[in-house]
Subunit: 681 residues, 2 copies
């Protein structure tokens, strides 16, 4: 085998390989084989393909690169380092230092290094999304491609083309085996996203061994069925073949493209290449040295960067990117003069800010015994906000009429194939891809939302977790809460999901107790721009409380607040959320009439309440009052923190049942009598 570097391109490719091997070996942990296999692709994309200025890593019109096979993180780190991508500060300002320093690479997989085991968004400029859980990255890439289409359609003018970027995603067998990838691919094919290119690392190796153990499908044919342009590359080491394939992507104008690349895992490591031994463990220094020899590199030198490689990137990517960026900046300057209003919207998108007056139309709801389903109030509040946040887009996994998640005001429109200006997305019955796509939309600066039945958060928790890890302010609109779902029965009645979602760190779970709490929970959620929010909403009506009699719903901003109180120290605190808040209120009335001193605490968002000062928490839930009753048509788990060992809980302890919702409530004994009894009344 003679693979010694003979030109700058090969030298650069082999440097990516060599840095990746050394980092994994030094950490004694990681995945060396895939960076070695995919180095030519990363090289070709960054140095010769992408519209990307390493000096402006947040340039809005940059091509996006998503490493969906996040375990190959060293591929990204090595490439970003050699490409000279600049670091940015927390506000996004470019700093005069590298985003990935050689020191970071040397500290790969150590605490404090930006080079984490898997790429972590915002750890370093150039990492466009957090990847690792397979299938996540490719689903994000569809959201990024949707965003480009939407931005181009809404903001480009005949005179000024601000958006024309492409999205490239590198993916593995594992990505493509995951269902979420198929869902996302189906959406992309349906929408004819010709700005999206997946490069599939077809290496025939998985952790358990050869893909023939479990993966024998004809991926190309599957993707043709999904409406994709399918291109093959027989050997990624032939850079001209890669370039040709990318050209086929560029020239296809009605479909997304998948480039199926035959690769050899651990390429260049004489004893381990093409085996699963090169996948998830260091090669061993001996094998690393042999590989370096094969590349013609000094075998014992670690983190070696041959002369000319950095310059080679600077002369290609660097110069091309700088020119592209400069030209775009001129367009942007001209655009700002010509279209000040649109430009202001764009600036808000670029800055991650809400526009002036975004909340001015949030309604106040009049007190009403009949009330309304909170999913209905949610529809009204969502529309009132979205009307004034022109870059808020989203949709449902085929449940918009039930989720009340459609934007219905004039001009909202649908986002459809070749009709990319609309704000109502149709995700089909693909919850996981929906959440992954909306992650991609939020990463592109837009305020995205995703709607489905609450029970189906089980299908998309992976993506919800990533929303939170990446601090993206995605709004999850989750209707058909708990046994209030009624006739659809246990499979459709979320009982454990409140606790399960509250368990996701950083996800703010709101369960508003009437229409005005819906309004105030939305107001709070929209302003928290660094955390996702889950809005849990009812199918059934609940009374709209009289806010002159009870405390104002603005207390929702603190997560929990005293809704109704007594004189002096309460005998009992009733606390509840959502559809059970009303039960607390009416039970409290009866208890009070019977001479009890009762406080009612509304707890629409435990996560926010837990963030308040201890003083505030103690004010709402005085430690000396241990007679506490929580009421929620879900499981008890997340309430134990607030009710304590002596606390009582009126709610569910197992799965629901099929029947009209009021009968289901009775069946499970969630009613006023139970609350009164638990309170000792």
């Amino acid at each position: 085998m003679s693979v010694a570097s003979t030109d700058l391109a090969t030298l650069a490719v082999d440097t990516i390989r060599s840095l990746s091997m050394d980092a994994v070996q030094t950490a004694n942990s990681g995945h060396p084989g895939t960076p070695m296999a995919l180095a030519p692709i990363a090289y070709q994309l960054f140095n010769h393909t992408m519209q990307y200025d390493p000096a402006q890593p947040h340039w809005p019109n940059r091509d996006r690169f998503v490493l969906s096979c996040g375990h190959a993180s060293m591929l990204l780190y090595s490439t970003l380092h050699l490409a000279g991508v600049k670091a940015t500060d927390k506000d996004g300002n470019v700093l005069d230092e590298l985003s990935i320093k050689l020191e970071d690479i040397k500290n790969f997989r150590q605490i404090g290094s930006v080079c984490a085991g898997h790429p972590e968004y915002a750890e370093a400029a150039g990492i466009e999304t957090t990847t690792g859980p397979l299938g996540a990255g490719v689903s994000n890439s569809v959201g990024m491609a949707i965003s480009e289409k939407w931005l181009a359609e809404n903001y480009n003018t005949d005179d000024h083309k601000l958006f024309d970027y492409n999205v490239f995603a590198l993916c593995s067998d594992g990505d493509l085996m995951e269902g979420v990838a198929c869902e996302a691919a189906s959406v992309a094919g349906h929408l004819k996203l010709d700005n999206l290119c997946w490069l599939y690392d077809d290496n025939s190796i998985t952790i358990e061994g050869d893909t023939s153990l479990s993966f024998s499908e004809d991926v190309g044919k599957r993707f043709e069925g999904l409406g994709w342009n399918v291109v093959h590359v027989a050997d990624v080491n032939e850079l001209s073949n890669l370039a040709d394939a990318i050209e086929k992507f560029r020239s296809c104008t009605d479909k997304p493209t998948i480039i199926i690349c035959k690769t050899i895992i651990g390429w260049g490591a004489p004893n381990k290449q093409n085996t699963h031994g090169a996948h998830g463990a260091p090669l061993g220094w001996d094998e690393v040295e042999l590989a370096k020899k094969a590349y013609g590199f000094p075998p014992e030198e670690k983190f070696y960067i041959p002369d000319g490689v950095v310059e080679h990137f600077a002369n290609n990517l660097g110069q091309r990117g700088a020119a592209d960026y400069q030209q775009w900046n001129e367009t942007w300057t001209a655009y700002k003069s010509a279209n000040p209003e649109k430009a202001a919207e764009l600036q808000a998108i670029f800055d991650g800010k809400l526009p002036e007056g975004w909340d001015k139309d949030i309604p106040e709801f009049e007190a009403s015994e009949k009330g309304d389903a909170t999913r209905n109030s949610s529809g009204k509040v969502l529309n009132a906000i979205a009307k004034n946040v022109p870059f808020m887009i989203g949709g449902s996994a085929d449940l918009a009429p039930s989720n009340k998640s459609d934007l219905t005001f004039e001009g909202a429109g649908d986002f459809l194939p070749n009709q990319y200006g609309g704000r109502n997305l149709h995700f089909g019955i693909r919850e996981h891809a929906m959440a992954g796509i909306v992650n991609g939309i939020c990463l592109s600066g837009l305020r995205g939302y995703a709607a489905t039945f609450f029970v189906f958060t089980d299908y998309m928790r992976g993506a919800m977790r990533l929303s939170s890890i990446m601090h993206q302010p995605i709004l999850y609109i989750l209707t058909h809460d708990s046994i209030g779902v009624g006739e659809d029965g246990p499979t459709h009645q979320p009982v454990e999901h409140l606790s399960a979602c509250r368990a996701i760190p950083g996800l703010n779970v709101f369960r508003p107790g009437d229409s005005n709490e819906v309004a105030e929970c939305y107001r709070a959620a929209m302003q928290i721009t660094d955390h996702p929010a889950a809005m849990v909403l009812s199918r059934q009506n609940m009374a709209t409380l009289c806010r002159t009699k009870y405390a104002p719903a603005s207390g929702c901003a603190k997560g929990g607040y005293v809704l109704a109180d007594c004189e002096g120290t309460p005998d009992v605190i009733l606390m509840g959320s959502g559809s059970e808040l009303g039960l607390c209120v009416t039970a409290a009335e009866k208890l009070t009439a019977a001479g009890k001193k009762v406080r009612v605490v509304s707890m629409p968002c435990m996560d926010l309440f837990a963030q308040q000062s201890q003083a505030y928490q103690d004010q709402v839930l005085p430690p000396e009052v241990t007679n506490r009753v929580a009421v929620e048509a879900g499981l008890r788990m997340s309430w134990d923190r607030w009710i304590g060992l002596q606390g009582k809980f009126v709610g569910m302890s197992g799965y629901g049942a099929s029947g009209p919702y009021s009968k289901v409530y009775e069946h499970f004994g969630i009613n006023e009598d139970a609350v009164i009894a638990a309170a000792g009344g």
Copy 2:
């Protein structure tokens, strides 16, 4: 439109439609359109295709019918009723009454009716699995088909063919849009499951409207890519076309088959058919009457069953099924004489029992400071058990070498295409399908297990929930718990998953604290045959405790037990699980040395502990001792119940970090000092 019934077959089909309409209309809730569309398919399958004896609904060699589009539940209920499927008691004995009575249908979607909103397994004989969450049923069907192959390969002899059943699944656009269905289809195509037939209801309608909104792929081509035999039926009302298509399934011997059936939702309802108005809401009595007129039925009569329809089923399905069953029973009798040992295994499968001596080789582990990773002990215990439970089969989502989930004893073997006798399944990187498939395997009487990294339970919660709803004893082997994962970082470190999984009602989450607890947790889990179990296991080593010094690990059977105690009332109770149990033990030693009275409680399974008598719980956690410290490298939520408002918690409060695991533990302050400080030491 003239669709009046002209023969018994059409009459039967229209009766299914009519019963379904009436039930939905009477409930004023449900999905009428799909039963109306798919009635010919259900009719053709049951009455003319399936090997199924309505008098023996648990016959092991029956063809399986899975209604993956569970919202069309009335299709199943109507058909089971007309087909005369008999009820069974809790032990599976056939009763002399119908499984679905007309009264049940009249009480569709009411509490107490076996006709729930979606089909609920075990509510009534003939319901083979719980469906409703889309994609679940088709994934189950793959598990059922795998089971048939496995049973046939292991138990059929040249003389006696006991197993040759087929599995039919009816699925919708929604099923096929869900990623889990694609994963499952890929597995089925890979394994060449020619005993599996999906019938796809291609009606071009979803809840939001026409499928053109979100679903335009070429399903046939996609399935060809997935390795399936693709057959088309232009109009399901032409029963002969359906029969021909089913014949094409029967004659295909190297692939699963999908029959793509063009249908018209709400068929026969003149104003609503072919619109999404026929999907998820009653048609209205007026429209119901018009549809009945179109069928030539008395328009005002409800729950009308024309003369001859029940007899028509009896004369076809009934007679055919009885003959088939009788013949099989003769074979089974002969088999028992010829192969008593194998027959005993089969009897255990049919009865859902563990074989004699199943636990005789469970090892005891010697005390060791170095200890072992619980994933390693798990591999040993799993093998020790599976060796003696010949019908325990399972596998991993491409992580077997990491999960230690391979059966390595002689004769275990791999389950591969055309090699169906092996016990090690290879699911590929498809967690959700894996869990759905293993549900199907357990529903077929085998003891199935599914392995992956704990963090990826997020990908398969939907199916885990269904394991529990269906009371199936699936064993989830979940390694790489918490921040002990180390270098792979936050995306791979489950921190909220313990609470999130403990929240699933009926799922027993075990987190053993040393090798002997692994053994005892397995022993407990295996014996609970009506609940799934999640075995949460570490990547890193933990000490094997000396069980003469500490209490025996058999306490695991109670979920929580006193591991180490003091004289008199403890000053503090330290409790922990898994990798943090050792921290409690060493911290307790130091605290004791400093004069504190310390009790250590091991809590490997909160779910089981919560099921113990209050007396036992109080004995382990005396109410008067409120100084309690819980230690777990996860979130606090599920511990609040045990530590109370005054309790302390040493664990995680957010996502992890990438680094060597011991450094990550230090970074987050989960160590002996923290435990001692929390204990007030």
